[in-house]
Symmetry: C2
């Protein structure tokens, strides 16, 4: 059985939990509180030198880090990942977009807002982060205003990865009113079988 | 034949050019100067709504964005990407690490330093970026001090992706003297057949 090292409020961890849920794969959860430095202990760094959750431990003891790499690993050979070469690359395009253009803005601002911030330095950075966050939402809307899902016409791990922080974007002060495509897509995903809440185990 | 939209000083673009070179794939290059806003024109945004290079156009006209998604697309079925499931996931782990923990620190600081910065705001951010950049180098050194390459024992696109901005890290003021594993690895890659320089077409 898989062991998942995770922090329940994390959207990056949620992606993995939601994928495991959709694939109906059993796993045991080991909670690590990142706010208490529990992923920076010597013991944890031996499992992941980069000191971050989520971390998936396979049956043979090997560990895999990086939420979206874990998603790709779990989804291979399942309906959550297309097999056609360009479609699979398109899923990856959205996964890298998520980690580079979406998460560092939308998730980071949400983290500030829900953890006692923004501090003075964060306040200075906020306008640029806010702008870049809305630009990321624009890119998603451009696709979702005319398509049901991010890749092809079916639900994939690209949708799971982008859903994670988009559905809680309002907690960071992002207003989705001007994004009808994104809103319809969020609703569609929340209504899928096996859907679960961000802090569900 | 592939068309590559690219900006020659970009390390993200270089990854793609270096991969094409290693695979001996012909392509035509269309240069877009990001400093002049050439990737934010209406015409370019129709090709990539996210307005960034590198962008790979396939023979059928379809476009693929995100440097590391392009690397995965090109490398599939070649010696640059393992076929074994966990090894392939391990390559992806490094590719996501590169875009999340390495590029935003090491490449961004290099960009500031080589483009008239740091400005006053950049100066404030510099200590945190510098620290996070060295942490990323620590993670690489942890692997490379005892292994010849990042995944398994052979050269893959994980090495290409991390080589791109690591080999020019000194241009951002990063000192690699305490990283003998990284230094040996950089040298090994620079000596491979088909290697090319960052601004080579």
């Amino acid at each position: 059985m898989y062991v998942l090292y995770d922090f329940l409020p994390s959207g990056n961890g949620y992606k993995v939990r939601l994928t495991l849920k959709h694939l109906q794969l059993p796993y045991s959860l080991v909670e690590k509180d990142i706010l208490k430095g529990e992923t920076r202990t010597e013991e944890f760094l031996r499992l992941n030198a980069n000191g971050r959750i989520p971390l998936l431990q396979l049956e043979n003891g090997e560990c895999l880090a990086e939420s979206n790499a874990i998603l790709m690993y779990l989804a291979e050979g399942t309906p959550l990942l297309p097999t056609e070469r360009i479609e699979k690359a398109r899923v990856l395009q959205w996964l890298f977009f998520e980690q580079y253009s979406h998460e560092p803005n939308i998730a980071v601002v949400r983290f500030w807002m829900t953890h006692g911030g923004p501090t003075d330095q964060q306040k200075e950075l906020l306008p640029a982060k806010r702008k870049a966050g809305y630009e990321a939402l624009d890119v998603m809307e451009n696709r979702l205003k005319t398509n049901p899902f991010l890749v092809g016409d079916r639900f994939t791990i690209a949708d799971i990865a982008l859903y994670a922080y988009t559905h809680v974007a309002h907690e960071g002060g992002f207003d989705l009113n001007d994004y009808p495509g994104i809103q319809a897509w969020l609703k569609k995903i929340a209504n899928l079988d096996h859907h679960s809440h961000i802090t569900d185990r």
